[in-house]
């Protein structure tokens, strides 16, 4: 009798709401963050402009010099005017954007690789390995970043010169085609070598959190190797914070490249970057302020958008965000 009443009652229970997965929840939260969504649009627009537009012929050649019209204001054929050598500024900004964004992305990837590896190993192993790795991170974190990178860049340049020469000698690539690429490598390495520190801490915390949970013990008891567990189970679940910090690392890397370029040890000719354009513009601020303003706008927009997006991702993925 009681059983029947129970069944009856359960049938009339109000339906529970359809559950959302964690990712769906996060996506909904992110969608409602207007700043983050606007930033996405801006980023897509900027990336499209820098990587796709220059393919078309209406964008001038950034290297074409025309001294007769140097420092001129925007016209129909030169939407951002021309720089101190008469080069089309719009084109220079777009091409410069390619380099800046590429440097940002590749360096962040380098950073991520190192940071995730170190953080995951530290968090998963615990004990002495963890203590050692984290002490190393602490020590490195205290070092004056720029000072070391300046030194590092100078050294790396020497090494990549050697690499370029070796490549030229041993393959049939010309010096001019390789040199710009290999010239960027010192940047990737130098900046990437020290910007992984924050990521490693975050990953470690994440991994520690997950490792403590029981499904990892279950996997161990099934005989899965440590590496497999790390790769297949732990890291995918730590993706959230990794994505957030990757998004927030890109702008700091780009800023770094700009500073190095300002000091003359960043991107080298014939390549140009937003950093170079901006520092050149700052030098010539009095004679032609547009040279500073035009490249600064996409640069600042990109950085701010990445920051908004990163913050938005962080709020979206953290269930106990202190926003409301």
């Amino acid at each position: 009798m009681a059983e029947e009443t129970h069944k009856q009652t359960l049938e009339t229970l109000p339906e529970t709401e359809a559950g959302h997965s964690l990712w769906q929840d996060a996506w909904i939260r992110l969608r409602s963050n207007r700043a983050a969504m606007v930033s996405c649009v801006i980023l897509v627009a900027i990336i499209f402009s820098c990587f796709v537009l220059p393919i078309f012929s209406f964008i001038a050649d950034p290297a074409e010099i025309e001294l007769s019209t140097k420092n001129s204001a925007p016209t129909a054929s030169h939407w951002m005017g021309q720089d101190q050598l008469g080069r089309d500024l719009l084109s220079r900004v777009l091409h410069g954007g390619r380099i800046s964004i590429l440097v940002g992305l590749i360096t962040t990837t380098v950073s991520l690789t190192i940071g995730v590896a170190v953080g995951a190993i530290a968090g998963y192993s615990g004990g002495r390995t963890d203590a050692f790795l984290m002490r190393t991170v602490d020590v490195l974190y205290s070092l004056p970043f720029l000072i070391i990178v300046i030194l590092f860049s100078a050294v790396a340049r020497g090494q990549t010169d050697a690499l370029t020469t070796w490549l030229v000698d041993n393959t049939n690539l010309s010096h001019d085609s390789i040199a710009p690429f290999t010239g960027l490598i010192p940047l990737f390495v130098a900046i990437g070598a020290l910007s992984w520190l924050n990521i490693s801490r975050i990953v470690r915390a994440s991994v520690q959190n997950i490792t403590g949970q029981e499904y990892v013990e279950a996997a161990r008891s099934l005989g899965l190797s440590h590496g497999r567990i790390l790769l297949r189970h732990i890291i995918p679940n730590a993706i959230g914070p990794i994505v957030v910090y990757a998004t927030l690392t890109i702008p700091s890397v780009m800023l770094f490249e700009a500073t190095l370029s300002f000091l003359g040890i960043g991107v080298q000719p014939p390549y140009s970057s937003w950093g170079i354009l901006i520092s050149d513009g700052a030098d010539r601020m009095l004679s032609n302020p547009l040279l500073l303003i035009f490249p600064s706008i996409p640069f600042i927009l990109t950085l701010m958008s990445l920051n908004f997006l990163g913050d938005g991702l962080r709020d979206a993925l953290d269930p106990k965000s202190s926003k409301d």
Binding site: A2, H6, T9, L13, P14
Partner: protein, 327 residues
């Protein structure tokens, strides 16, 4: 003699992204002078929100007091502004909370936290205040109070931290103490000690107490009267002895029946099936109907919300026929 605190038709709603959560939806409770009044209910029943709203501790952007009154010594607490409320908080009405570890400031010594109410309300500082604080610690049974008072909260055990909270709450000799699940986060053995402390102090000082809990056994040990809440509404209220002798509502009866000690060894345990309702989607009608296995769910109200009626002297219950029916 009028009751010390008379809560009438309290309504507190939270306006969230997912809709309006009716955390407290028409609750009325009376607390007499010198008595321990229990507020009992499951998580989400509205018991804590009721208490917090008395002192204006509900975060007011999402939360809003939609109606009702809470008359305390002649004043409606719900109508007071922040400055006026501060005259009552920690002075006439004190509160202790569920988790003593997080409820005490980890960065400040216990001494500075204990003397704070004295500095705010009685303008007593320095040695005099410290002296009172040490006395307060001794009154809750902490040995070596003069030395220990200069420690930090994390240097105390859980039960002792809760006693520190009690001392801090009673140091200004308030008229009403609100205890929000003070023993839920503690071990059973420690629970008893803390309850003893509360009971002894209450007898000594004559302070009235609102005791919030989900544990029926604790209720019967501590409380003179019991108010049972469900889904933000009060379901039944009576003196503790009357409630256990004559539970009227299906929910009350279900709770008592679910108590393992009421079952013979080896027999099936009684449970109340299902889950509490979603407070954002509460419609009219009896909120307990879907889970009513003891009464007669077919008689439960569906369009009208049940109201509280006085079934026998000082024994109130929701007038839902389905829940009052015997099975």
């Amino acid at each position: 003699m009028p009751p010390l605190l008379d809560i009438k038709n309290l309504k507190v709603h939270f306006h969230t992204r997912n809709g309006v959560v009716k955390a407290v939806d028409d609750v009325s409770i009376k607390v007499e002078q010198g008595e321990i009044a229990g507020i009992v209910g499951e998580s989400g029943s509205g018991k804590s929100v009721t208490a917090y709203s008395l002192l204006g501790l509900i975060p007011m952007p999402p939360g809003r007091i939609e109606g009702g009154s809470a008359i305390f010594q002649g004043t409606d607490l719900l109508k007071l502004n922040e400055r006026e409320l501060n005259q009552y908080r920690g002075r006439k009405i004190s509160m202790i909370f569920q988790d003593p570890m997080t409820s005490l400031n980890p960065y400040l010594k216990v001494s500075s936290q204990l003397v704070e109410p004295l500095a705010i309300h009685e303008n007593i500082t320095g040695k005099k205040a410290l002296h009172r604080a040490i006395e307060a610690l001794e009154s809750v049974g902490i040995d070596d109070a003069a030395t220990r008072i200069h420690s930090y909260p994390h240097e105390f055990s859980g039960g002792m931290r809760q006693r520190v909270m009690i001392a801090m709450a009673l140091i200004t000799k308030p008229d009403l103490l609100i205890a929000d699940e003070p023993t839920t986060a503690l071990d059973v053995t420690v629970q008893k000690q803390v309850l003893d402390v509360i009971r002894t102090l209450q007898k000594d000082t004559g302070t009235s107490v609102i005791f919030i809990t989900h544990d029926l056994a604790v209720v019967h040990e501590m409380c003179d009267t019991v108010n049972l809440l469900y889904a933000g509404r009060d379901v039944e209220s009576a003196s503790a002895s009357q409630l256990i002798q004559n539970p009227l509502h299906a929910y009350t009866r279900g709770l008592y029946r679910s108590n393992p000690s009421n079952h013979a060894k080896g027999s099936d345990l009684h449970t109340i099936p299902g889950l509490p309702p979603n407070l954002a989607k509460l419609g009219p009608g009896c909120a307990f109907r879907p889970r009513n296995t003891i009464g007669d769910p077919s008689l439960c109200l569906t369009d009208q919300t049940p109201e509280l009626i006085e079934h026998s002297p000082r024994h109130f219950v929701q007038n839902c026929p389905g829940c009052l029916a015997k099975s």
